[in-house]
């Protein structure tokens, strides 16, 4: 892009400057998102699993001297036949039928050079649209290191479009891409026999023929097969899967601890420092009790949540998650779902919102709805603060399996299992009643194992931190301040009222009869009401409520809940949080994805009943046993 202008054929020469719009399209797992990130510098979720990009994203590429082009990253598609939601999106954008998205001036077709013959089939319908196209053969480094070869000149001649061999991961071979972005690279319009398009076998033969002429397929990588021999071994495979899960939990609990304690000390001392600067009064109380005691007590959990995402990211980027889906398919089939539901459900452990979006790869609508309905039962990190607080307050840490597994990690694992079991039972019930359907075929591509890059993991964690801080700064802060106000009104004799007499106290007392059967008092009641917005808000609420009575630090909170809850009620609270749908964002995304209020309403109601019933049972049973 630092060449001098030598393009007489440039269509933009002399024309008024208009931002070019280009779309990136290609089959799943061909590295579109990596290319997109490399070009735009934007962070976008990149994962080594087919079907991760579920919404198209837009970014700008700077081409020096304040010229830029707009790039649209489309979801991965195998064809332009609108079979899945992803394919419909890609089709509509490319043909200019997507409202609000301009029709692209040109298109970059990204193909995995390692499976070129197959990926050419996905290129054919895009080339046939007649837009100026650049064919990018990605993962050149892998192709060459595994002994494959490609003749780009021959391929370019047959496709009637320029062909670039690149490695998006390493940033190699990008000169041609930049030339194309600038509109400097032209090879006429693609020529392609339109009769190919409707005829899959013919199209396939065309692709295979072309592949034979211009492409030497790579040798299958030996170590990828060896790894599969271990990870999919009939005995070792499931054991390793379990081992990985246990290790992640133990590391989350034990490994995050020093970080959390450090952050806690930092927040506590900075809170004390700020409140020392302020004159004593309502403002000082808002800062020290409301902000530090409330929002601060949620911020402490950031290291734990980031650790979870680090592990999930490693599993996803390395390609192991696809193997996990394969191992899980048999079990999923037994409850009437398929292995493809497993990936959204695994993502739901990170957050239900992307999980609901990821269900778009499921072709069968009933399977899709069933997966959406059970997704919130997967334990998302917003529950971790509650789980951690209660477990740490009531369960002493003792080794169970030597240093491998402690009681607290085991309890946490048990809560994850509880959510999973409830999800399985619900899925079974749904699939044998209101969402009954034909069994849908399970087709899963196993990507080669790849080493997760620090760049991709780093971007992912940065994204997560931003989302968490935004949440802490908006929903959690808002609810916390509101509760602080409710807890400080009405003013009695010019002073704040005892918490029992405040509006917050009155609110809690109003719901107390309803939650008394679960062993909760009015303080937990206030927490439950506030946590309807987001689960972790209960921590900041309790922090604020107990903060009004004194020490709001983490251990202070633990002591306070130990004082107010019996062990049976603590268990009931855990069960309640395992099941209840306390998340505005999830409700909103389910409404958007299912196209109405029907399914989110059903979902909220059944999860609420499950939570109440489960908590009641837990309270009664534990009361009998303890």
């Amino acid at each position: 892009m630092n060449r001098t202008e030598e393009c007489e054929s440039c269509p933009l020469a002399g024309a008024p400057p208009r931002a070019r719009v280009l779309a990136i399209v290609g089959p799943p797992n061909s590295g579109k998102s990596t290319l997109f990130n490399r070009l735009t510098g934007l962070s976008q979720k990149v994962a080594n699993y087919p079907g991760v990009t579920v919404e198209q994203r837009t970014g700008k590429v700077r081409l020096g001297r304040d010229r830029e082009v707009t790039l649209i990253d489309l979801p991965g598609i195998y064809s332009l036949v609108p079979c899945t939601e992803d394919e419909r999106v890609a089709h509509d954008v490319l043909t200019g039928r997507m409202p609000g998205v301009p029709q692209p001036d040109a298109v970059i077709i990204v193909l995995d050079a390692n499976v070129l013959s197959r990926h050419l089939m996905a290129a054919a319908p895009v080339l046939a649209l007649g837009l100026p196209a650049l064919v990018v053969l990605n993962m050149a480094d892998e192709l060459l290191s595994r002994g494959g070869q490609v003749d780009t000149a021959a391929l370019s001649e047959h496709l009637g479009a320029p062909v670039a061999l690149v490695s998006a991961l390493r940033g190699e071979g990008f000169q041609a891409v930049y030339d194309f972005l600038e509109g400097r690279l032209h090879a006429g319009t693609p020529r392609l026999d339109r009769a190919l398009l409707g005829d899959f076998p013919r199209c396939r033969r065309w692709a295979q023929h072309l592949g034979e002429r211009a492409w030497q397929p790579p040798e299958p990588s030996l170590w990828s097969r060896r790894l599969d021999g271990v990870f999919l071994h009939p005995l070792a495979g499931p054991l390793i899967f379990l081992g990985v899960v246990v290790a992640v939990f133990q590391a989350m609990f034990a490994g995050a601890r020093p970080l959390m304690e450090g952050l806690q000390a930092l927040i506590h001392s900075s809170g004390g420092w700020v409140s020392a600067l302020l004159p004593p009064g309502p403002l000082e109380s808002l800062v020290s009790d409301g902000l530090c005691g409330g929002v601060g007590s949620v911020l402490v959990f950031l290291p734990q949540i980031l650790l979870l995402f680090l592990f999930l990211g490693i599993l996803e980027d390395s390609g192991y998650l696809a193997r996990a889906a394969l191992i899980a398919d048999r079990t999923m089939a037994r409850v009437g779902l398929q292995g493809k539901s497993f990936i959204p459900l695994i993502s739901a452990y990170a957050c239900a919102v992307p999980a609901v979006l990821a269900t778009r790869t499921i072709e069968n609508r009933r399977d899709r709805i069933a997966t959406i309905l059970i997704a919130p039962l997967m334990t998302c990190p917003a529950r971790l603060p509650v789980y951690t607080l209660i477990i740490a307050a009531f369960l002493p840490e003792r080794p169970l399996l030597g240093p491998l597994l402690g009681t607290r990690a085991a309890a946490l694992l048990g809560l994850y299992a509880l959510g999973l079991l409830a999800a399985i039972a619900t899925a079974r019930l749904l699939k044998s009643s209101i969402l009954k359907s034909e069994r849908t075929p399970f087709v899963l591509e196993l990507p080669p194992y790849r080493r997760p890059t620090l760049r991709s993991l780093g971007l992912r964690l940065l994204d997560r931190t931003k989302i968490f801080l935004r949440r802490a700064g908006t929903v959690i802060l808002g609810v916390t301040v509101l509760l602080w106000v409710l807890a400080n009104l009405p003013v009695e004799d010019g002073r704040r009222p005892p918490i029992e007499h405040s509006y917050a106290g009155a609110l809690g007392r109003a719901v107390e009869p309803l939650i008394r059967p679960l062993g909760f008092d009015w303080k937990i009641g206030v927490g439950l009401i506030s946590s309807l917005a987001a689960r972790e808000v209960i921590i900041s609420t309790l922090g604020a409520i107990y903060g009004l009575e004194g020490d709001a630090s983490l251990t202070g909170l633990q002591q306070a809940v130990r004082r107010d809850l019996t062990p049976a009620a603590a268990l009931a609270l855990l069960v309640f949080f395992a099941f209840a749908m306390q998340c505005i964002s999830t409700i909103a995304v389910v409404r958007r994805e299912t196209g109405g209020w029907k399914w989110p309403a059903i979902q909220f109601a059944y999860l609420g009943l499950l939570a109440y019933g489960g908590a009641f049972l837990a309270y009664r049973l534990a009361g009998l046993l303890l």
Binding site: V81, V115, R118, F200, R205, L326, D329, G339, P441, V443
Partner: protein
């Protein structure tokens, strides 16, 4: 072959009255063996999905391994590994492996 014992038994035995051996199904291909696809007896949407992935008449496919428990199984086609449940693979019919030169 011993591996055949562990695979799902064929739903129906040889078709009565057929003069030549009916094509065996992909699901019956022993692990490590190769076959050439003859046809896909699947609903159109499923067939198209598999075709897009490379499951087409004349294309060579190898059974690579199975998931723990034996189902789904992993097949290698054109350098890519793809997992299918046995119920789906049973509807992908193979040419008898005797005609053993590259298809098409």
């Amino acid at each position: 072959m011993l591996q055949l014992v562990f695979n799902k038994p064929a739903r129906r035995a040889s078709a009565p009255g057929a003069s030549r051996v009916p094509p065996s199904a992909l699901s019956e291909l022993p692990e490590g063996a190769q076959g050439i696809i003859e046809r896909l007896d699947l609903p159109e949407d499923v067939a198209h999905r598999l075709m897009a992935l490379g499951f087409l008449p004349g294309v060579r496919v190898r059974a690579v391994r199975s998931a723990p428990g034996g189902d789904p199984r992993v097949y290698r086609i054109e350098g890519t590994e793809i997992a299918l449940r046995c119920e789906t693979a049973a509807q992908v019919k193979l040419r008898p492996p005797a005609a053993d030169d590259p298809g098409e």
